[in-house]
């Protein structure tokens, strides 16, 4: 059992709800109590779900609405800059929203659903038709986006360092892929398995962007979060060249991601050390993926994506490390394309470049 499960508690800061319960009007107090109850249920659900095996999670399939025929169910809510989830349901005309952030997450969610269904016949995050619920305008100037185990939520950003977190489809794809990982390999969120968890989200996030924009491996910029981080010269991560996404940033300094194992950061399994550097060391498998996809040529999702999806859903387990991912992707490349194929050579070359 992953010891991280012990920490799966906080979705919303409890002090906000506490303040409303203590100091709000009678109506506010009632709403706040209802919110606290909802949050308590969400936390309980996550604890319960996280403790299940991927197969059991599929069986449980927490799906507010399930489509009979495979089709995307995408619901968009506005938190109206509060922290109550899911918020107020936003109306649309056809597929058009008046709110730009709502449109971004609807479009990004649709592209993500199509990516997984068209390519892998995966019906939504849980492969059971789970409704994809997005809540925008979460909190005030909130600098984050996340998959909370049941739904997506997006902050508006502080508009100083970060813009709205709905502005990059790769981030939407990244976060929703955390959901896919949760229902498949369920990689532990610490050390190498955690970095692999992050990397898998980047890998599928970038492929979702590339497919939506019809970019091949040569035309893609291989950047994650290029629009969310303000400033044309900055992005959150570079898969092509980890460690170069930002340099001399006034608040963040230089991008510290390693690209190869000799730069692997041995960090502590604490919050302040990013649970063993999961957002740092993910640069290593990210770079391996870039090299293998580039060597295969064409569109990344056609070959490298097939290999990684098979590895994620058939080979990787919660404790898988980089070496296990290497073994898994080489094995799946051999099964899909043949042991002596160029694809197997490309996968090996990717891991070699990352010195795994």
């Amino acid at each position: 059992m992953c010891n991280r499960l012990n920490h799966l508690h906080c979705i919303l800061p409890p002090y906000i709800a506490d303040k409303l319960v203590d100091k709000g009007s009678e109506k506010n107090k009632q709403e706040a109590l209802e919110n606290k109850l909802m949050n308590h249920r969400l936390r309980s659900d996550r604890l319960f779900l996280a403790a299940l095996s991927p197969h059991q999670q599929k069986m449980m399939a927490v799906s507010p609405k399930v489509a009979k025929k495979p089709k995307p169910i995408i619901e968009v809510y506005s938190c109206n800059n509060l922290r109550s989830l899911p918020g107020t349901k936003m109306s649309k005309t056809g597929t058009k929203f008046r709110d730009g952030d709502a449109q971004n997450v609807y479009d990004g969610g649709l592209q993500t659903w199509k990516f997984y269904y068209d390519l892998f016949k995966r019906n939504s995050i849980d492969d059971q038709g789970m409704a994809m619920i997005h809540s925008v305008h979460y909190g005030k100037r909130y600098n984050n986006a996340m998959w909370n185990g049941r739904q997506m939520l997006y902050g508006d950003g502080d508009k100083k360092v970060f813009d709205s977190f709905t502005k990059d489809i790769d981030i939407i794809g990244h976060e929703l892929t955390h959901g896919v990982t949760q229902f498949t390999a369920n990689l532990n969120y610490e050390f190498q398995s955690g970095a692999l968890n992050e990397s898998v989200s980047d890998i599928f996030g970038i492929m979702i962007k590339q497919r939506a924009m019809k970019l091949d491996v040569k035309k893609s910029d291989w950047l994650i979060g290029g629009n969310v981080m303000l400033g044309d010269q900055y992005a959150l991560r570079s898969m092509k060249a980890p460690g170069t996404a930002f340099k001399n940033h006034p608040q963040w300094g230089d991008d510290p991601q390693p690209a190869t194992m000799d730069g692997y950061l041995k960090m502590q399994n604490t919050e302040e050390d990013d649970w063993g550097g999961v957002h740092f060391n993910s640069g290593i498998p990210n770079f391996a993926f870039y090299v293998m996809a580039y060597n295969m040529g064409g569109f990344s999702w056609e070959k490298a994506g097939q290999i990684w999806y098979a590895a994620l859903t058939k080979e990787l387990t919660p404790s898988s490390d980089f070496a296990a991912a290497k073994t898994a992707t080489i094995k799946q490349a051999g099964i899909i394309f043949g042991k002596a194929s160029l694809e197997v050579k490309a996968v090996k070359a990717g891991w070699k470049a990352a010195k795994v």
Binding site: R4, P13, Y15, N144, I171, H178, L236, W252, E272, G277
Partner: protein, 88 residues
């Protein structure tokens, strides 16, 4: 005198910032305030508003909004001094 180190790690990306200083405040009172402001955090979906505070060997994950006046002033001062940390 109490030595306080504040660390902030952002979700979504690889960025850690830290600041520390020794302040003229009673350690036991600071510890009590920090304990009262402690929150539990989710590693995969860490809260953007939580901070990690070290006071010597004691460690707290806190929500600054829950701090009492004097300690909040100290922590807010450190928040303004956060600088990027390059991990080794």
């Amino acid at each position: 005198m109490t030595h306080i180190k504040l660390t902030k790690t952002e979700g979504l990306f690889a960025m850690i910032r830290s600041a520390e200083k020794t302040v003229d405040a009673e350690k036991q009172q600071v510890l009590a305030d920090l304990k009262a402001a402690s929150v539990e955090t989710d590693p995969q979906h860490r809260d953007a508003e939580s901070y990690v505070v070290h006071v010597d060997d004691d460690r707290y994950v806190i929500d600054p909004g829950k701090l009492k006046k004097d300690t909040k002033k100290i922590i807010n001062g450190l928040v303004k001094e956060l600088k990027p940390v390059q991990p080794k």
